[in-house]
Amino acid sequence: MKRLAVVAVLLALTSATACGGGGGSAADREGLYTTIDALKPGLDANAPINPYNPKGNAFLGYNAQWLGWTKNDLTDSDQFYPGVAESWKIAPHQSSITINLRPNGKWSDGAPITAEDVKFSIGLAYTQGGTAYALDPSAAGTASDIKIVNEHTIKITQSAKNPSNSFVQGVMQTFIVPEHVWAGALPADFWAKLKLAQSTAPGADAARAEITSLADKVIAFAPPKDVSAGPFTLARMNPGEALLVKNKNFYNAANVAPDKVKILNYTGNEQIWNYLISGQLDNAPFTALPADVMERIVQTSGNGVVQGYSPVGNALAFNQSKKPYDNVHVRRALAYLIDRKQVTKVASPEGGVAALTTSGMHQKAAEAWLGARFAALNPYRVDPAQAAKELEAAGMRKIDGKWTMPDGTPWKLTINVPASFSDWVAGAKAVTSQLNDAGIDAQVVTTADYPLYLQEIAAGKYDIGFWLVALGPSPYNIFQRLYGASNGWQLFGGRLKHVAPGKEGNWMGGPETIEVKGVGKVDPGELAVKLNSAPEAEQKKIIGILAEAANQDLPVIQMWDYVNTQFVNTTRFTGFPPNNSDTLRLTSGVWIQLGLIKRKQA
């Protein structure tokens, strides 16, 4: 018994030692920046240090670098802060981009960063097919030629067959990795195979298949150690945390304030709340949270909030294959009944602002693109009388205070939401509560999780569901959410086709053409695709028509626009971006490497 007591005391003392330090000695914590990586929920110490691996321990802006960092602009997605690229020159119509590297740029192991590294990294990107590197020659916005101009300059040319306005962004978002570490990931004859794959010569299909088959190998590639072009390198990991240390060879190392970065693991929002309440995090991106938790977070010493533009909106989306939602008057009636301010207040009081109207876009982007035309859109202010008129126009009947279908059968309005999204669940409940008050029998049904929700909504199982819209900044991407594959328009090899509702992922089931006031009959899917390559003046015109179409036809009712809300703690570091900064959508690793973050002086 005495022995047991001694052991217990020793354990308690050891534990107290650890508690007292709060994790490491004071010297260890000096210059330590603590954060979470929103792109990597659920750290995995077994994952390779590989930016192409979804769980890879390559943290964007810290030890994983793009050529450049996209600024958070309302309309222009081709503005960047320097990353591995020191400067760049974009040719007219994005026909090519010439990248200049820093002449003295070095990897963390001291090797020079060269144009060969960039070319090799582009080769890796071809195996993955994302961004600007598609093997299909008819794909939009793909690179057709990569030419090393000199040791520190490389020119990437866009295929003229199907140019895209997102080409430059795709190039700048290329992960750059050291060829001398990754050499084994690509075969020696890769570039010859790529040339063949991009042609129509015999053997092109086989070459494409061969390059595509490299995808697994590249994703699984595990470099023996972290060699980084970023401000940090990965020192070690455990299942709950990652430790990165300063890369002394980083070009801007003198202005990188933290010596170390600790990235904490999280698997749920409540863990981030706990970290924030206990003041552990120097920065955390926004996460949905109730008002009382927000109150506690901002009460913690040093904690503060920075807000800015986030090109994401939340909407109620209709399956127009289902009655009565095929009738525009019903959709308009619902828009007149829902008090979006009230819904937003309940669902996302801290991270959203009620949508002024439905345009398919975030209201800030809509104002920037449309100017005065935005104000001319129907705002669908709460108007029960107008809603009743619309329902009557749709043939709906009100019997004993309840709206019914035109044939008098009951109308049960069901909104589906994934159970794990607390803001969506709260929003849907607020909407159904308002609709029930207006005599519409409405209910919320939750789906177990997001993968199941996405599968079921795509299969057309829901009448109405919450759906993210306005995913910008590219106008093409924004309107793909309303007039893309989920609404029947599919792009194959540069050719657009419209599939019937209920087929091949067309769950929104809207009409192929819409009569737009003052414009006439338009094919919104066709217009949306044109946004990919149209010059800015034409883009503006198209956006005006599509916003008007969305406003009249209401394939969705926009509920709230998200606000990019970041948490910062100024106890240890200062210099965080101010409200509405164009760096707010970038990771704090980028803020650090740009030299914005400073150590707090005692």
Binding site: T14, D44, A45, T131, A220, N238, G268, Q455, L471
Partner: protein, 347 residues
């Protein structure tokens, strides 16, 4: 020696025969459960790559770019008909190859399971043994003092803790010690600033991070041990042989040994079974404390529809339970002479 050896041989043979029977039955059971779980897992609705596609679009990729990037992961999905997938899976299983993870592509499922298991075994084992030792001691005391107030209080504490769901207890403890009084970390296994190794800082940090999960495991099962032990002791106290021992005037210490030895027998079986359950029983606690063991791995694998990882986790849990059942049975045979002799009466 020869005479003793001759006497022991049939007993040893019995044990070996019994063990062999258990192993064969256990093997069949594992095969059946693995097959059933394989089929169920493959039929879980939800497309793992659709969620990946959606997250890339949300980050600003065009639908076409996101489709291509998502397609790069197809190689990590099981291919062929369900039957072909099953044959592939079983073939791999016999070579101890559970396939590659989809959520951490390129990493073997066995590697992921191996990393997670240690973080489950140690806290659950410590918590379970701690609660067992404290629970049975308090249980005996509560039985002996069952007509007194202290006995009532102890039994009540057992009932309350036994009735409290594990996740409620975990949430309460987490809220108190990581948020209201943030003296314990709210996740992880050790502070990364400590160099891993045999040093006070690192070991202290390991203990500090494991403390709340261990306490929760211990408290969650403590009530059950008290109640089971109390009930068992009360039953034994009423047995004739205890009355006989008292009438023969045996010392209280000897009588206590009689009582304890007989009362604890059924609890050993429960202990062995609960140790088997420890692989799968940690889901809520690990999720709430963000403690990266097998339970958290299983939840994450379900969320990401990582079929191979789910299958591996279920297999490990099944094997653990089957082995625990065999151990419990063999243990019972060893410690209870009535079972060993095949008779139903005490000798």
């Amino acid at each position: 020696m020869t005479a003793i050896g001759a006497r022991r041989l049939p007993g040893v043979n019995n044990v070996v025969r019994r063990l062999a029977g258990h192993l064969v039955r256990g093997f069949v059971m594992i095969l059946v459960v693995t097959t059933i779980s394989f089929v169920i897992i493959r039929h879980i609705p939800g497309d793992p790559l659709l969620a990946r596609y959606e997250s890339l679009v949300e980050k600003g990729m065009s639908p076409e770019q996101a489709q291509r990037a998502t397609a790069a992961l197809y190689g990590f999905l099981p291919r062929g008909t369900l039957w072909e997938q099953y044959l592939d899976y079983m073939r791999g299983l016999f070579h101890l190859n559970l396939g590659q993870s989809l959520s951490t592509p390129g990493v073997q499922v066995t590697t992921l399971l191996g990393s997670a298991v240690a973080w489950t075994i140690v806290p659950v084992l410590v918590g379970t043994l701690l609660s067992f030792m404290v629970g049975i001691t308090v249980g005996v005391y509560a039985a002996m003092k069952r007509s007194g107030k202290l006995g009532d209080v102890l039994a009540l504490s057992g009932s309350l803790l036994h009735g409290l769901p594990q996740y409620v207890l975990a949430l309460l403890i987490a809220a108190i010690f990581t948020t209201l009084l943030p003296i314990f970390p709210s996740g992880g296994t050790a502070d990364i600033l400590f160099e891993p190794g045999f040093n006070a800082g690192y070991i202290g940090s390991l203990i500090q991070h494991a403390a709340l999960p261990i306490v929760t495991y211990a408290l969650a099962s403590y009530g059950g041990w008290i109640l089971a032990m109390k009930s068992s002791v009360v039953t034994v106290l009423g047995d004739d042989f205890i009355l006989a021992a008292e009438l023969r005037g045996l010392k209280r210490g000897i009588i206590f040994r009689y009582v304890a030895r007989n009362a604890i027998l059924p609890l050993f079986t429960i202990l062995a079974l609960s140790l088997g359950m420890l692989f799968g029983g940690a889901i809520f606690i690990e999720r709430i404390f963000n403690y990266p063991g097998l339970g958290l791995l299983l939840i994450n694998s379900i969320t990401s529809r990582d079929y191979a990882l789910m299958g591996g986790a279920f297999l490990l849990i099944t094997v653990a339970i089957v082995v625990a059942n065999i151990v419990a049975d063999m243990l019972y045979t060893a410690i209870d002479p009535r079972v060993r002799s095949g008779g139903g009466t005490a000798s």
